[in-house]
């Protein structure tokens, strides 16, 4: 058991190094090693899946003791990390072929595996210092992945790493404060120490830790790096970032609030609103704001990947909202949504990546009508957006339903409304996405576009099937989630393979029934549609514009400014930008540093000498004043 955890942790790192070396031999050797090692990680993960190791594994990597632990929740996240990484690596093989410089590719795969290893480390970490170490490794390795995306990605990556570092250092202060108190950072010791600490200490540490996680999870006021980084990163990296990396923030929040600080303790030290501790309540509001505002922003995007990036901010809002409810149903919903979001957002990013691979653009107004050319990608993307919009029977539905149910049980009407608004908005932007990419008029230059190569299709297929599997059988995931939450002191919620049986604290839900109902309705509508033909199928060009016949070279279908009228309505909201506030402060800081601080070094020898004399004079004056420094 001990060895296996260390092996699981070491596999991606060793794989990364071997990949780089393999790249020196031949690119196929490199690709093979990368795939094999990520496959091996998945294999190891599967071998020990769902085994609980509550104790502490003492490894001794890097000189300091590496504390590892597992519980079902870690397996949930490990599953997300390893599976998506494997798919991303497989997808990369063809997608990254366009990069000519082989050494760049070598380092690309190395960093991909390093990011995977760092995330495995974060999830397996059993104490805060191990956690923090891998957290930092994840930050800078993923930074290198982001800047692979070309010229614009450099600014995005820069913003990402600076914000990550700030967030990480906020965590660092909290960890150091905890260490000063406990002299041990193993989760159980920290939890024990926190249960005896003063309220102000607890609030400070928890807030500082949360700031670090909020940056990575892109919760609203700290999200500004995400839209840039996720849209500018190479297409195979975006699913890893959006699907997995930001989940680490959610995982961190889970560990902090339910591993280190229990809900009961939180209730004791701070006032409660809607029977939620005030801190968690504030987080709920931040998450809800993320959901609504990011949805609005996503609606207004012209860039397909940027749309998906804002959608990630909004969806991670659901995850955090669920986690912050503090009830078993809400937390389970949040965790489940983390898995679901990883699946469908990974799928969407890969599908959009496939489109970009063939067309070379991600500007939605330049695309359209690809459904005939890339039918397979279209189908996958369709499944993805259905899942994202939360329509049964696909997987987004169940987790969102759980979060809504949790909010209803807590009678938090405003948050519920905001969550619904986000969900409705999601319909708008996913429709925009699929319409602009696949429907409408096909630009002439894409006449020869084909569907993507098989190696890129496989990951998309796997993810597309997963949306169905986890949608119809939510029990598969609830298994680990419920088991794990029991360990963290939650009352287990009843579940079965197809959903949630009747008679528990909440309403019953069986996805397959709902799906059956929906299917029946769909079939009925379809039959009606067939039986009563009122429409006649015509060619796209069987139409007139300004009295002229349409020809393929005439662009009649514009998808620019798709929701312009809606945009006008929400304009006052969109014009607010937290980024401007940040930039203002950064500029102020820069000006202050440039014009006041560094001009101490005037280049003038007399000035320099007088500094010396001033210091000596101050010292002498201190002596004359009786040796008192103040």
């Amino acid at each position: 058991m001990n060895m296996s955890l260390e092996l699981l942790l070491a596999t991606p790192f060793i794989g990364g190094l071997l990949t780089y070396i393999g790249g020196k031999v031949h690119r196929w050797v490199r690709n093979l090693i990368a795939v094999l090692f990520s496959l091996a990680t998945v294999g190891e993960m599967a071998m020990y899946y769902n085994t609980t190791f509550k104790g502490v594994v003492w490894g001794s990597l890097f000189g300091s003791n590496l504390v590892l632990q597992t519980n079902p929740i870690t397996w949930l996240f490990l599953f997300i990390v390893t599976a998506i990484s494997l798919l991303v690596i497989v997808f990369s093989i063809d997608d990254m072929k366009k990069e000519e410089d082989e050494i760049v590719l070598d380092s690309y795969y190395m960093q991909l595996l390093f990011v995977e290893g760092a995330m495995v480390g974060i999830v397996l970490a059993g104490d805060l210092i191990t956690f923090f170490m891998f957290w930092e490794i994840m930050s800078w390795t993923s930074y290198f992945l982001i800047v692979h995306g070309g010229k614009k990605s450099m600014a995005a990556g820069y913003k990402y790493i600076i914000m990550s570092v700030i967030g990480a250092y906020a965590m660092f202060i909290a960890i150091a404060m905890l260490y000063a108190k406990t002299h041990s950072l193993v989760y159980s010791d920290v939890a024990l120490a926190l249960s005896q600490a003063s309220p102000s200490f607890i609030i400070w540490t928890v807030v500082l830790l949360s700031v670090g996680f909020f940056v990575k999870a892109a919760v609203m006021p700290l999200h500004t790096w995400l839209p840039d980084a996720h849209s500018e990163a190479p297409s195979p990296v975006s699913p890893l970032l959006s699907g997995v990396l930001i989940k680490m923030g959610a995982y961190g929040l889970f560990i902090v609030f339910y591993g280190l600080l229990s809900v009961n303790l939180a209730k004791n030290i701070m006032p409660s609103v809607f029977s939620t501790p005030i801190l968690l309540y504030i987080i709920q509001w931040l998450a809800a704001l993320s959901i609504v505002l990011a949805t609005f922003l996503a609606i207004m995007q012209e860039d397909a990947k940027r749309l998906l990036a804002y959608s990630s901010v909004s969806q991670i809002g659901y995850v955090v909202l669920g986690l912050a409810t503090g009830t078993s149903l809400g937390v389970a919903g949040g965790l489940f949504h983390a898995l679901n979001h990883a699946i469908f957002k990974g799928l969407l990013f890969l599908a959009v990546g496939a489109v970009i691979y063939r067309t070379g653009t991600r500007n939605m107004s330049e695309l359209g009508g690809l459904v005939k050319k890339m039918p397979f990608t279209f189908t996958a993307l369709l499944l993805g957006i259905i899942a994202l919009a939360g329509v049964p029977p696909l997987n987004g539905f169940v987790s969102k339903w759980m979060i809504y149910e949790a909010l209803i049980q807590k009678k938090e009407v405003f948050l519920l409304i905001m969550a619904f608004v986000g969900s409705t908005g999601a319909f708008l932007y996913v429709y925009r996405l699929i319409h602009s990419l696949f429907l409408g008029q096909l630009p002439e230059k894409y006449e020869n576009v084909k569907d993507v190569p098989i190696l890129m299709q496989i990951p998309i297929w796997i993810l597309a099937l997963s949306t169905i599997v986890y949608g119809i059988f939510p029990g598969l995931a609830m298994d680990v989630i419920v088991k794990g939450m029991k360990l963290f002191g939650f009352t287990p919620i009843a579940y079965n393979l197809f959903g949630f049986p009747e008679g528990t604290a909440m309403g019953s839900l069986t996805v397959i029934n709902i799906a059956a109902v929906l299917m029946t309705a769909f079939v009925a509508v379809f039959i009606i549609f067939i039986l009563f033909p009122k429409t006649r199928q015509v060619s796209q060009y069987d139409n007139y514009a300004s009295g002229q016949e349409l020809t393929p070279d005439f662009k009649y279908n514009y998808s620019f400014g798709f929701y312009m009228s809606f945009g006008r309505v929400i304009k006052p909201i969109l014009s607010m930008s937290i980024e401007r506030v940040y930039n203002y402060w950064i500029d102020a800081f820069k000006i202050f540093g440039d014009y006041y601080m560094r001009r101490i070094y005037t280049g003038n020898l007399e000035t320099y000498n007088s500094y010396i004399v001033i210091v000596v004079t101050i010292a002498a004056a201190a002596v004359l004043l009786g040796g008192k420094l103040w």
Partner: protein, 496 residues
Amino acid sequence: MVNLANPILLIVIPLLFVFLIAFSSAFSKSAAKYLPIIAFGINVVVAMLLVPEVLKNGLVLSTTAGFKPPIAIDMIVDKLALFLVIIASVLGFVVSIYNVAYIDEEPEEKFYALFTLLITGIIWMIITGDLFNLFVAFEVTSIAAFGLVGFHRDKGSVEAGFKYLVMGAIGGSLLLVGIIMLYAATGTLNIIDVAQKSAELTFQQKFLAYALIFVGLGIEGALFPLNAWLPDAHPAAPSSVSSILSGIMTTAAIYAIIRITNIIFDYNQIYLFLMFFALLTLIFGEIAAYYQKDIKRMLAYSTIGQTGLFFFAFTIHSTNGLQGAFLQIINHSVSKSMLFLVVGAMIVQVGSRNIEDFVGLGRKMKVSSFFLAIGMFSLMGMPPFFGFWSKLKIIFAALQHSNALMIGSVVIILLMSVVEGAYFFKLLQMMFFGKAEQDREIKEASFGMLVPVVILGFILLFISFYPTPVLDFAHQAASDLMNKNYINLALKLGGL
């Protein structure tokens, strides 16, 4: 049988070589190139031989001229001094190798003589047990450094050299006045003896002397606002010299401040005062570094920042803080010297010190850039590199005292780390992912310049992935210093 584990050899052998080098051109033109390598090779061996002795006894003391201290001058190597000596010798050895390929400007033998003298002076400063000897070592180091900074004899280096000289000379004089005042008060120059006798003096009596010593050493040790020479001198010097200046010389001066503060002036109030200096040094260094266009100037300002960081760790005034300080010293010495060496090799290829010209270098000079990245990551304190452990120890040690001052300082340190990350990442991303406008003919650095970089890089990687011995050793050194074992052991061994 000569006992090779004798600290005096650490000074005497290189000094002998200084003379050999100065006269070597009479016999062979190229001998001067290789003599420093031999000198510091021997030094590394001697330092390594000292390791078991120091670990056994806690301290090695040797006297000169057959007298006993405090009359005779003595050399004391305890754990702290030992690891600085090892760093200095190894850096001297490695940079000497680098010099062979790097220095092509006449008069070579003078350069090598001064270079050897510089490192000898640094080692001398570290191991001396006598205050006046400290002054002499300080001046030897300074004069060698003045000469080396002006070695290129072009506009910038002459100006930097002159400014450095004036400030250094003032600093030396202040240091001497301080030492003499201590002598007047106690009647002895031996550090251990002064420590014992000054215990009877009051705070006020020692204060002015201490302040003058502090200012004198602080000028060399790059403490704000006494460090104005540094950002001029480090870029102006040849890169190999900058590497030594940045890597170990400022550190040696800080080491002297640490030692003197610890054994003569160990009052709680003074640490708050020093912390003020440390934080100012950190803030001004890092912020100024952010705006630099000249890569060596940027690294020089970063040195100021790092110096502030480890000086801050010292002013926490606890064993853990000192441990953090020593770890940071190791980290800074190895990483920053390596950075200067790499940057020197790059400047040779690029022909410019402007950061803008380093665009796309990551693809042309792969090995160099790789080690540059490692060094920068270590300085930023990114795991898994060694800088992470030192920063971790410093922050943990600082927050052991959970008062507002310490928390404020930690916030400042971390903010400045962000600034540091900002300029290092700016450079790294430009080098690795930027594309140059026109394709330039840039080759990898020559083998002779790559070897030292790789040696230092592997040392850094080794201590990054296996830091346990270093952490333990630093902890022992720190607890020795905190408990003033130094004085007790020296009294026992030296028969004072």
